[in-house]
């Protein structure tokens, strides 16, 4: 057992922390929440310049570090409440290509992501909002050397900023819904793709995508045509644990804000942090934050070692989802009315934490998964 970060992880952590405190002030956060794309090419280039866009991409494709390095960086991004297509591209897009792509596809897309030249989104969910295989119904019909896509995708992240979409589509109906699923990558500007941005409370950018007779070459299929679900399953596992890391950062920062406030706010002649009602609440927040981090790191480490992590990832997403909710609620209570205002930064954290909670399956979804390991 070893719970310490290694030198490289510590370096990535402080690199990300410094970068975000310089480039991503509260003012920028507020702008990005309102911004339609939640993205500026300038900031993206700066991220690429310090190699953050290449995180967890193998060196041969121009990347740096491993999944654990990415995890510590995402924790920092959570602390900053970072609104950006970073997660979408580096976690979802890059993972999909690494999991399913051929050597040629990896050479085509991964260096471009690492260099900050490409933003790639992943379109899995549809109108049900479910992450289960039966929810994938967008049709992919083969026509010669092309697939013709028809249908709609919902809650597609950062599509307005993206150059490419990786789309999960159904090639055939099968009694096993995991069969007949295809992953295919296409240019965002290909005719027939229509993007409708949704408005979210957290400022995370999500879209509805409709596909009308969209023609994509079979060369763009990622991996084996019928085995898309196996890839999605693994991508979702990583995405979930990565989300947890972000939430750990969100919770840590909310706790830090609550502590600062509890130390300076005076009531009845004392800082409110001296009152046990506040102290004990904060103690529980620390358990939630540290517990979230441990359960996240455990799953991340297993994934990084290519060991089975299904149970641990489910436990992480279920527990962290609930813990971050408790932490946010307590942070608001400690802040009193000031934290209830739109001017204060805290509500951005609360809203982002709730967004994270529901992405890639909420606590209940992962509790179900966890139970299957307890039979």
């Amino acid at each position: 057992m070893d719970f310490a970060l290694n030198e490289q992880q510590e370096m990535m952590q402080s690199l990300a922390r410094d970068f975000l405190s310089d480039e991503y002030t509260d003012k920028v956060l507020k702008v990005m929440v309102e911004d339609e794309k939640g993205h500026t090419p300038e900031l993206w280039q700066k991220l690429a310049a310090v190699n953050l866009t290449g995180l967890a991409i193998p060196e041969e494709y121009g990347g740096v570090g491993d999944f654990l390095d990415l995890i510590v960086v995402l924790e920092e991004m959570g602390r900053a409440c970072f609104i950006s297509p970073f997660f979408t591209t580096v976690v979802l897009g890059a993972s999909a290509i690494m999991e399913a792509g051929s050597g040629e596809q990896k050479r085509q897309y991964l260096p471009a992501i690492a260099e900050g030249k490409s933003i790639i989104t992943l379109a899995v969910t549809e109108s049900s909002g479910s992450y289960a295989p039966e929810a994938i119904s967008l049709k992919a019909a083969q026509n010669g050397s092309d697939y013709i896509l028809n249908g709609a995708k919902l809650f597609v992240p950062d599509a307005l900023a993206a150059d490419h979409i990786i789309c999960a589509a159904r090639t055939r109906e099968a009694s096993d819904p995991q069969k007949g699923i295809l992953l295919i990558i296409l240019d965002i500007n290909v005719p027939g793709v229509h993007i409708k941005p949704l408005k979210t409370v957290s400022g995370d950018k999500q879209c509805e995508l409709t596909f009308t007779d969209v023609k994509v070459s079979i060369d763009n299929v990622l991996g084996e045509a019928d085995k898309g679900w196996a890839y999605i399953d693994r991508i979702m596992q990583k995405a979930n644990v990565a989300r947890c890391a972000e939430s750990v950062g969100l919770s840590q920062q909310a706790l830090n804000m609550a502590l600062d406030y509890a130390k300076e706010r005076i009531a009845f002649g004392h800082p409110i942090g001296a009152f046990q009602s506040i102290r004990h609440r904060c103690a529980d927040m620390l358990i939630d934050v540290d517990g979230s981090r441990l359960v996240t790191y455990q799953a991340a480490w297993l994934i990084n070692e290519s060991l089975p992590a299904e149970r641990e990832a489910a436990a992480a997403k279920a527990w962290v989802s609930q813990a971050s909710r408790r932490v946010m609620n307590s942070a608001h209570q400690v802040h009193g009315a000031i934290g209830f205002t739109e001017d204060h930064i805290l509500h951005y954290y609360t809203k982002k934490a709730r967004f994270n909670e529901f992405s890639f399956g909420d606590a209940d979804y992962h509790f179900e998964k966890l139970l299957t390991h307890y039979k």
Binding site: M1, D2, F3, A4, L5, N6, Q9, L68, L259, A262, K263, H270, P271, G273, A274, F275, Q276, I278, R279, H280, C282, A283, D284, L286, I287, D290, G291, L294, V295, Y297, Q298, W301, L302, E312, A315, A318, W319, D364, F367, E368, L370, L371, Y374, K375
Partner: protein, 392 residues
């Protein structure tokens, strides 16, 4: 980062498991007893002692001690693995106070002579310890200790009453904290830590039965009890510092998460076999499973700190409090699961799970009180972990 045990640690786990598979009395395994409810068994003290001696013969109690004191310099994860396996095999035999608290305190603050005198006994499993800290008038507020040790030329003479003394009714030795200076301010600078032979004349032990019907703790009276001066640990009037370092160990001596986990598995097995799991109960169980995972990691973290020679403090309060409160939730879950049947005692016809449901549940009321109350733990976390100001 690394979340697995070393091959050597895994081999040790195997060795312990196959040993326990042979040695643990059948009835303990059949009833699936846990550390906190096995004292309900009539033969518990006898089994506890004999298992302790067997573990001692194996050298397992002192594995993580330095070689010069009979240990093998193994990582503290060996102690954790031993406790996990004892839990899994429903075995008594680990003296939480002697091996868990007194030994680390002696290693840290004891004189060479004290180490040589007491560590071999603890390592052998033949000398069982108790600790007397709490008094009828003072529980959490240690600094207010009143039991007084009066200095004579060659010894100290102790008079007064202690209470909530776990295992006091059969322990051979006692870690005692008394007042030795009544004038000093702050009061905590007038406390001294003694090692006391329980056979010393003047010590009377009376049982206190807890609300689960178990006899674990006692009240202990000291009537002109003479203690040699050489039995002071950490120096005269410096007992508070010994206690503080000792509490950091006490809070993680027991693998409480493992007790919760094994009981939850026991409940889950019973529920599935008898078709008791409604969707609502199943959802509650899933929550507890995830909580067990976090409790385990919090404890591993503290053990890892110890393995790095870091002294945990608020981290152990976090781990201890979270695990104990989790145990309470698991015990409550057991009651909900069994419904009307939860009301039956072991002596009743039709009783499920040997009457352990109410036994574990009513025992669990102590979990937020013992080894420091949950309130004290949260205060420790707020103060030492978060740097929040104090009212006092």
């Amino acid at each position: 980062m690394d979340f697995v045990f070393t091959p050597e640690e895994e081999a040790f786990r195997q060795e312990v498991a196959s040993f326990l598979d042979k040695e643990v009395p059948k009835i303990y395994r059949e009833k699936k007893l846990t550390f906190f409810d096995m004292s309900s068994q009539e033969d518990w003290i006898q089994v506890h002692r004999s298992m302790a001696e067997k573990l001692g013969e194996k050298g397992w109690i002192s594995l993580h001690w330095p070689r010069e004191y009979g240990g093998q310099d193994k990582s503290p994860f060996h102690r954790l693995i031993l406790r996990e396996e004892l839990t899994r095999y429903h075995s008594p035999g680990y003296d939480s106070i002697g091996a868990g608290i007194v030994a680390p305190a002696l290693l840290l603050k004891g004189s060479d002579e004290q180490k040589k005198q007491h560590l071999p006994g603890i390592a052998s499993g033949k000398v069982i310890w108790c600790e007397t800290l709490s008094e009828p008038g003072h529980g959490s507020d240690l600094a207010s200790i009143e039991v007084f040790a009066k200095e004579e030329t060659d010894c100290f003479v102790v008079n007064g009453q202690k209470i909530w003394t776990t295992n006091g009714h059969f322990a051979d030795w006692n870690a005692l904290v008394t007042r030795t200076d009544r004038e000093v301010d702050p009061k905590y600078r007038g406390l001294t830590f003694f090692l006391v032979d329980m056979k010393t004349p003047g010590i009377t032990v009376n049982p206190i039965i807890n609300m689960a019907g178990h006899h674990e703790f006692n009240e202990v009276f000291f009537d002109d009890v003479h203690i040699p001066k050489g039995n002071i640990v950490g120096g005269l009037n410096r007992g508070f510092y010994v206690v503080m370092s000792l509490l950091d160990y006490e809070r993680t001596s027991d693998t409480v998460y493992a007790f919760a986990d094994i009981y939850l598995k026991d409940l889950a097995g019973y529920a599935r076999k008898n078709n008791l799991l409604t969707p609502v109960l199943e959802s509650r169980m899933a929550q507890l499973i995830a909580d067990c995972e976090v409790a385990r990691l919090l404890h591993y973290y503290v053990t890892w700190m110890q393995s790095q020679d870091k002294v945990p403090n608020y981290e152990s309060a976090m781990s201890k409090m979270y695990s104990f409160e989790l145990n309470q939730r698991v015990a409550e879950f057991g009651m909900e699961l069994l419904g009307q049947y939860s009301q039956l005692t072991e002596a009743s016809p039709l009783v499920p799970m040997y009457g352990r449901i109410p036994s574990c549940y009513y025992r669990s009321f102590g979990y937020s009180l013992e080894q420091g109350t949950s309130e004290i733990d949260r205060d420790v976390i707020a103060q030492r972990g978060l740097g929040l100001p104090r009212l006092r």
